[in-house]
């Protein structure tokens, strides 16, 4: 087996923070930073992908370890990956938000017995409403979730927000906070045993 670890790095909001982290570990990321379109950096042991794909590559062992958001891990809770460390950066809130006028979610529940919720996190949203004893119809969307309540598609949304700015600009307000999400270090279960030393040395340095 190759001794070098393959690391799955999320592009998007966690990209810079993750590259900074790798720099701190002595991994040269300059090539990754200067190549927007390249995905695989074999010399550095880095593969880049969207955050929601990180658990997939790590679960299958195509990457030994990886960084992704807790939101992704909650949504993909069936993935067999080990969650090793809370990396602290990329902090966001998972929230329920609704149009800023009145109480559309409460109204829908009272009058229609159920609320319609748009989200990119169908599993997480369904669990949240089930756990709080409310019937919800979950509408999965791929793009900007904020649009859904504005057009009358749904009564509210479940989404990740960092500053709340996008919500505000679309006349939405946070009505519940489900939890805080940060970047997490995850590992493939087999690599966690067979490459224990390399993984532990990274975890120890990151724990500081």
């Amino acid at each position: 087996m190759s001794e070098r670890l393959t690391i799955a790095v999320p592009r998007g909001a966690l990209f810079q923070g993750t590259l900074d982290l790798l720099d701190g570990l002595g991994i040269d990321t300059s090539e990754v930073r200067s190549n927007e379109r390249r995905l695989l950096f074999a010399d550095q042991g880095i593969v880049t992908m969207r955050p929601s794909d990180v658990p997939t590559y790590v679960e299958h062992g195509s990457a030994d370890i990886g960084v992704t958001g807790k939101d992704v891990l909650l949504e993909q809770s069936q993935r067999k990956v080990y969650e090793l460390l809370d990396l602290g950066y990329g902090q966001c809130q998972m929230v329920v938000a609704a149009p800023d006028r009145g109480d559309p979610i409460g109204d829908a529940l009272r009058r229609l017995g159920r609320v319609r919720i748009a989200t990119k996190y169908p599993r997480l949203a369904a669990e949240h409403f089930a756990a709080t004893g409310r019937q919800a119809e979950i509408v999965e969307v791929k793009g900007s979730v904020e649009l859904a309540p504005l057009t009358g598609l749904v009564d509210g949304i479940v989404d990740l927000t960092a500053t709340g700015k996008t919500l505000e600009e679309n006349n939405l307000r946070v009505v519940e906070t489900i939890g805080t999400c940060t970047a997490r270090l995850i590992a493939n279960p087999v690599a966690h045993k067979l490459k224990a030393e390399q993984i532990d040395s990274i975890v120890e340095r990151l724990r500081g």
């Binding site: 080990y82 090793l84 279960p189």
Partner: protein, 333 residues
């Protein structure tokens, strides 16, 4: 039915042609390779005195529940003509425990059995997760403690050697260790289940948060956080600095005598999902693939539930995964 069975290319599968999710057809080329691997492992088992047994695919659900009530949700069920509930077995260990207690009620232990059999487990996991799988396994009945476990571990390694793998390892942990630590630190029972659940998923972030909320002393806290991260050779048993490891120390001694100590990884966070394990648990890995090839452990209470009190341990390999690992090793050269 008469007439046209031939499918039209590109036509979506219908209920007339589909197979249930998690099942698959095996065609001759793959079957030949699977058969070859199976034959070589079978020969290794037979040579070590593990005679092959077979049991019905369908058992009375009541019988399987006696073995492990928690696995019940994952079983496929049907009824017989009298309305009795039948279930497809979800592993071979429970049926073999039944066989030992009924067909070998007076036989002098130890007893050694092997099997090549299909088992079925329903799953909530996504597309592609198998629900029917071919297991190759062994059960050693009537040998308590490290002697029994070392024999099972060594024979598993030998069988995989025979199957053509070169880099496989066996992870060994103690499924009862963490629970007994929680008990000895006076952690309330209500916290055990969520903590053991986080441990079995190796949600180490979640586990650490739960440990912190217990308000334990620093030494206890550190041990509960550190233990699931300890894995490696014999040295982790010393580094762990906790009682309850004598069994694993003895196991190390025995696998060393058998010359396979370098293939064994002690993993103090290892727990297995099945409910009947009572002590050491095993998992089998190959660096060429990212998933475990199989697992097992000691189940000293199981056969007693069927009427004959005997210590036992065993291990099952997923033959298709062994095949994947063998092909991946071959590709790596």
């Amino acid at each position: 039915m008469s007439g046209h069975h031939r499918s039209v290319a590109g036509k979506p599968a219908t209920s007339r042609t589909a197979i249930p999710p998690g099942t698959r057809d095996v065609l001759p080329e793959e079957m030949r390779e699977l058969r070859a691997i199976g034959d070589r492992m079978r020969a290794a088992f037979e040579e070590a005195g593990y005679g092959e047994v077979h049991t019905p695919a369908l058992e009375y659900e009541e019988v399987l529940l006696r073995g492990d009530a928690r696995a019940a949700g994952a079983r496929y069920r049907t009824f017989d003509e009298r309305g009795l509930v039948l279930a497809l077995r979800s592993d071979m260990t429970i049926p073999i425990a039944r066989v030992v207690a009924t067909r070998y009620a007076d036989a002098q232990p130890p007893l050694r059995f092997s099997y090549f059999a299909r088992a079925w487990r329903a799953t909530e996991r996504g597309v592609g997760e198998p629900r029917e799988f071919l297991q190759a396994g062994l059960e050693l009945i009537g040998v308590a403690g490290a002697d029994g476990e070392a024999e099972v571990v060594a024979l598993t390694i030998a069988a995989l050697d025979a199957a053509g793998l070169r880099r496989h390892r066996v992870g060994v942990g103690d499924g009862a260790l963490y629970r007994s630590l929680l008990g000895s630190f006076g952690v309330p029972e209500a916290s055990h289940v969520p903590m053991l659940e986080a441990l079995s998923r190796r949600d180490l972030v979640g586990l650490e948060g739960q440990v912190d909320r217990l308000g334990l002393g620093e030494a206890e806290r550190d041990l509960l956080v550190r233990l699931p991260q300890l894995r490696g050779g014999r040295e982790v048993l010393d580094r762990a600095d906790t009682p309850g490891l004598d069994g694993l120390r003895a196991l190390h001694e025995r696998v060393e005598q058998r010359g396979v100590a370098d293939r064994v990884i002690f993993d103090l966070g290892l727990v297995r999902e099945l409910g009947y394990y009572t002590g050491p648990v095993f998992e089998v890995y190959d660096p060429a693939v990212g998933f475990a090839l199989g697992g097992g452990g000691r189940y000293d209470d199981l056969i007693g539930r069927f009427g004959r009190d005997l210590p036992a341990c065993g291990l099952a390999l997923d033959v298709q995964r062994v095949h994947l690992a063998q092909a991946a090793e071959e590709a790596l050269g």
